[in-house]
Amino acid sequence: MRLTCPHCGPRDSREFKYFGDAKTARGDDFASTYLRDNPAGEHAEIWQHISGCRAWLEVVRNVTTHKVISVKEAGQ
């Protein structure tokens, strides 16, 4: 799988680390910490470009087809 980093361009997914549902990035409360969606379809996720620019990214991806719909910097 490949993700297009807004800073570095298209890169193999091995350069990125997956951190789960993007909801977990949105707050400190119980729901954001523990309750994650697991849809069979489009899912907003948090990734970090760990072996690249180290930016935190919000990736919208269809988890059944692996089609990447969008990649942007998280928290923006």
Binding site: M1, R2, D12, S13, A25, F30, Q48, I50
Partner: protein
């Protein structure tokens, strides 16, 4: 000899000696082991998997199910190599496999007589009684008898590599369609990779007597390949199999770099490529399929296309007298080519209406119903429409059952192929793999003209360029009347490699294993090295006939990567033995090696555990001496593995104040503070010292093993949670070497700042960051210098320490001293403890994890110190703390760290115990169920030595 006097694209001027089962033969450059053995009159090349039937080659390509051989000897021995793929080189050693004692006389051929008992799923039924016998008797016997080939059981001496390639267009297969696609894209200036599994480019153009553009197809291929080779933007990859199609236009590819050479001479044996392509064209051609009839598996019976390949590419006529058995026009073509090569031919065609212009005996509406010849075909029995039969003497039989487009790669992302009636085969589903277009025979477009045309058109469309001009070529559609198996008595093979016959599919159907996926697993059809490339469709057709469905409804089993077998070594690449994972070495690594260091692994880091002296022969002797040395004099140890993270910017203080539970905002310049940080879920993430080097520059030292997680956490908070803060985070772990020098005499080694203060000190002209912190409980410093000075700093400090009677110490001594002092590691901070458990109060200010840490349920066992009070003086890390009888409900905690303290002369331990802080002075039992040790312990504060910290400030 079966070599024709002329023809083929082999180099007849040179001879290559090689051996098969110890016997010497000669080949020419351009030969495979299969073509060379056929040229030498050898038909018998292997034994089948289950019945050990004698087998010869069926095909001339990578789909070969029968002719599997072992190549080379000793540690280099590679089993299950297809003789139809392995190129001959001078001195090549090959052996047959799956036979004993010899290929000609195989004891296990007796299994063939037992075939009535060995049908599909026999091991689920025959050996079910008595019950215990399966496990103890039958299964071990079957396991010993099963298997293909032998591994060398020695480490593979070959070197493999992994690499990446990027291109605009990947062309898979270099037949007519692939060559035209590459030519179109290459002339347009696109970056092209043309990969073909074969060692000769051209595909069927090298294997048939065809004309392209008014000349022989061999000539046209040579010219085209020469032009492609001259284009700097085109990469030709021979001997390269595209093994899988993956997300995002990524393809796996196995390049066999040196399998055709006597010696790799320093190059890798194979390279596993990951090719990232903006567009891809599948021009992988098609596989011819056999027809199932009784005893259709004898040496000498092969696919018609393979017969033509051996004639036209290798100049080999494998037998003199032939029967050609066909359900389509390829039969006449094969008969024609055989006649031209000087063979005697009888053409048996299942079709009534076919009237080929051919000068041999032609039997329409006839079927082959049996064959004779145990180790090589001798005669073929033909049945006519009126039911009469006739035996015809023949040493060769060519089967033409139609063609299956090579759809495999298009199924790798989950799509199923589509049935197409006019070719009686499956074609790729459009859009099955995004960015991949199938063309030519791989897409069911079988004529040479169609292949050339669709290849050029697809490349032109993908890249938005003009197609290359199409040379003239044959464009006659092959007419086929589907015909799958002959109704006659006897076993008719569908899957040659796994010995699956029509009877087995009938049995699977009778036992209700009717879905193709069930049938596959019940009969083992389509498994093992060939993955049923020649077998699957025939079996589907038989099942479809039995269920009364169309083949389209019956469907196919799933094709998954890899397309052909890939050796584990190639997938591992260079990541073997010590290179399995990277090794992180500290700047003073070589220095420590020069001082007899023993080593510990900490994650990827290597750290000295102790430094042996004199005749010390147990680790405890060295460790105790080192502890004593630091406590009484001075010791030096490298701590470069500690995380070193710089936090910079006008808002750095505010940032760290939010990160840490411990207040950091008012930390003065030049001051150091110890702090805890929590995860978002409220549990403790790590502890760390924080030093303020300047108004807007902090450096923190997270624990070695936690620093990657801490760095990510800091970056997340800075980038995502508080983008309004002006702060930059930089990991400088590898930029700085850090050395600890501690002990009562440390102040004689270096004059530095006061306790918990920072100072920049010049040492021999190098600016050093000196932190007055301690993990041993003794006064002293951690001194950081740029990494390149690390070894020099060690040398400098050790010289001073040794003059005072001190020396080096390692991780074991450091661990003893930190337990004596009750300092934490991740044995205590195990991801399940809260700051309350560790005895830290909650400050009023806000910090990450505060809200979640406030949950009532978060409090757990509390940190305590433990010493023994009974006769048993041993404490064990990981042992349970139990109140009363040893029962789950009575377990109240566990020991996190236990060491022998040479300072105190007995063992001390840290532990987590329910309500532990209120129980100081009480006793509790320690039970280690693994070693059987239990001891009575006294509960106390988590500090055993210098509780007031006076030594730190001395």
């Amino acid at each position: 000899m079966s070599r024709l006097p002329k023809g083929g694209i082999i180099d007849r001027t040179r001879s290559l000696p090689f051996t098969f089962d110890g016997k010497g033969y000669c080949a020419h450059p351009g030969d495979t082991v299969a073509s060379a053995l056929l040229a030498n009159g050898v038909q018998l090349m292997g034994r089948s998997f289950k019945y050990h039937r004698p087998r010869g080659v069926l095909t001339a390509g990578s789909e070969e199910p029968n002719a599997l051989i072992e190549v080379s000897s000793g540690a280099d021995r590679t089993p299950n190599t297809r003789a139809t793929v392995q190129e001959v080189f001078a001195g090549l050693q090959t052996q047959s496999q799956n036979r004993w004692p010899t290929l000609g006389f195989d004891i296990k051929e007796a299994l063939d007589l037992a075939h009535p008992f060995l049908g599909a799923g026999f091991y689920y039924k025959t050996f079910m009684w008595p019950r215990a016998a399966w496990h103890h008797l039958w299964e071990p016997i079957i396991r010993r008898a099963a298997g293909l080939g032998r591994l060398s059981s020695e480490p593979d001496p070959a070197v493999y590599d992994k690499a990446w390639k990027h291109c605009d267009l990947l062309v898979i297969g270099a037949g007519p369609a692939g060559l035209m696609a590459a030519l179109t894209a290459g002339r347009a200036g696109a970056r092209v990779v043309l990969a073909d599994e074969d060692f000769v480019l051209g595909g069927r153009l090298q294997a048939e007597a065809l004309e392209v553009g008014g000349e022989s197809s061999h000539g046209w291929v040579s010219q085209t390949v020469a032009e492609l080779a001259s284009l700097p933007n085109v990469t030709l990859m021979k001997r390269t199999t595209i093994t899988g199609a993956y997300d995002g236009g990524t393809y796996g590819a196995l390049e066999r770099v040196a399998d055709h050479l006597p010696n790799a001479q320093g190059s890798p044996q194979q390279i596993f490529w990951r090719i990232v392509a903006k567009h891809a064209i599948l021009a992988g051609g098609a596989h011819e399929r056999p027809i199932a009839f009784p005893n259709n598996d004898r040496p000498g019976i092969m696919l018609a296309s393979a017969v033509r390949t051996y004639i036209h590419r290798f100049g080999v006529l494998p037998a003199r007298r032939w029967v050609v058995f066909a359900n389509n026009d390829e039969g006449a073509r094969t008969a024609h080519d055989l006649l031209k090569a000087g063979a005697e031919v009888t053409l048996v065609d299942t079709r009534k209406d076919a009237r080929p212009e051919i000068s041999c005996r032609h039997l329409p509406e006839a079927e082959v119903v049996n064959t004779r010849g145990r180790q090589g075909l001798k005669a073929v029995e033909v049945r006519f429409a009126n039911g009469n039969t006739e035996w015809i003497k023949a040493e060769g039989l060519a089967m033409a059952g139609g063609w299956n487009p090579s759809v495999h790669l298009t199924c790798h992302m989950g799509a199923r192929p589509v049935w197409q009636d006019n070719i009686a085969g499956f074609v790729p589903r459009a859009g099955a793999v995004p960015g991949l277009q199938a063309v030519g025979a791989a897409n069911g477009e079988f004529t040479t003209h169609m292949a050339l045309n669709t290849g050029a058109a697809a490349a032109a469309k993908a890249l938005g360029v003009k197609p290359a001009e199409i040379p003239e070529a044959e464009d006659t559609l092959n007419k086929i009347t589907p015909f799958w198996h002959v109704e006659a008595k006897g076993r008719a093979w569908l899957d040659f490699q796994n010995d699956v016959t029509v009877k087995d599919v009938v049995q699977a159907h009778a036992e209700n294993m009717r879905s193709v996926e069930h049938m596959k697993r019940y009969t083992t059809l389509g498994m093992a090295t060939d993955q049923g490339k020649t077998a699957n469709i025939g079996a589907l057709a038989v099942m479809a006939g039995l269920t009364g469905q169309e083949i389209a409804q019956t469907g196919t089993t799933m094709f998954r990567p890899p397309y052909t077998p890939v050796q584990m070594g190639a997938l591992g690449g260079r990541h073997v033995e010590v290179d399995l994972a990277p090794e992180r070495r500290m700047p003073g690594d070589a220095f420590a090696r020069g001082h007899r260091a023993n080593w510990d692994e900490m994650g990827l880091w290597l750290r000295p555990s102790l430094f042996k002296q004199g005749d010390e022969h147990t680790w405890r002797q060295s460790c105790d001496r080192e502890v004593q040395m630091v406590r009484e004099c001075v010791g030096v140890t490298e701590v470069s593995t500690l995380g070193k993270i710089e936090v910079q910017g006008p808002d750095a203080a505010e940032f760290l104040n939010r990160i840490f539970l411990t207040p950091m905002k008012k930390l003065g310049v030049g001051h150091i503070r110890y702090g805890l940080m929590l995860r978002t879920d409220g549990f403790v993430m790590d502890d760390s010292t924080v030093a303020r080097l300047a108004e807007d520059l902090f450096v923190m030292h997270p624990t070695t093993g936690a620093s990657a997680e801490v760095l990510s956490h800091l970056e997340f908070c800075a980038h995502v949670r508080w983008p309004e803060l002006d702060v930059q985070i930089m990991d400088v772990t590898e930029q700085w070497a850090q050395v600890a020098v501690h002990g009562p005499m440390a102040h004689k080694v270096l004059v530095g700042p006061d306790f918990m203060r920072f100072q920049e000190v010049e040492i021999e002209g190098v600016k050093a960051r000196v932190f007055r912190v301690s993990y041993s409980g003794e006064a002293g410093f951690e001194i950081a210098v740029p990494a390149r000075y690390g070894a020099a700093l060690m040398h400098w400090l050790l010289g001073k320490a040794e003059a005072l009677g001190g020396g080096l110490y390692g991780l074991e001594a450091l661990n003893v001293m930190r337990v004596e002092k009750g300092y934490l590691t991740h044995a205590e901070i195990d991801g399940r403890v809260s700051h309350y458990d560790l005895g830290f109060p909650t400050p009023d200010k806000d910090f990450v994890g505060k809200q979640m840490a406030a949950r009532a349920g978060l409090r757990g066992p509390e940190l305590v110190g433990l010493t023994t009070v009974g006769t048993v003086k041993a404490l064990v890390g990981g042992a349970l703390l139990v109140e009363g009888d040893f029962a789950p409900d009575n377990v109240q905690g566990h020991i996190t760290s236990a060491v022998f303290s040479p300072t105190l002369g007995h063992m001390v331990a840290l532990g987590l115990l329910e309500n532990g802080r209120a129980r100081h002075g009480e006793t509790i039992q320690m039970i280690d169920a693994t070693s059987g040790i239990s001891a009575m312990c006294k509960i106390g504060p988590a500090v055993f030595f210098d509780a007031k910290g006076e030594r730190l400030r001395a």
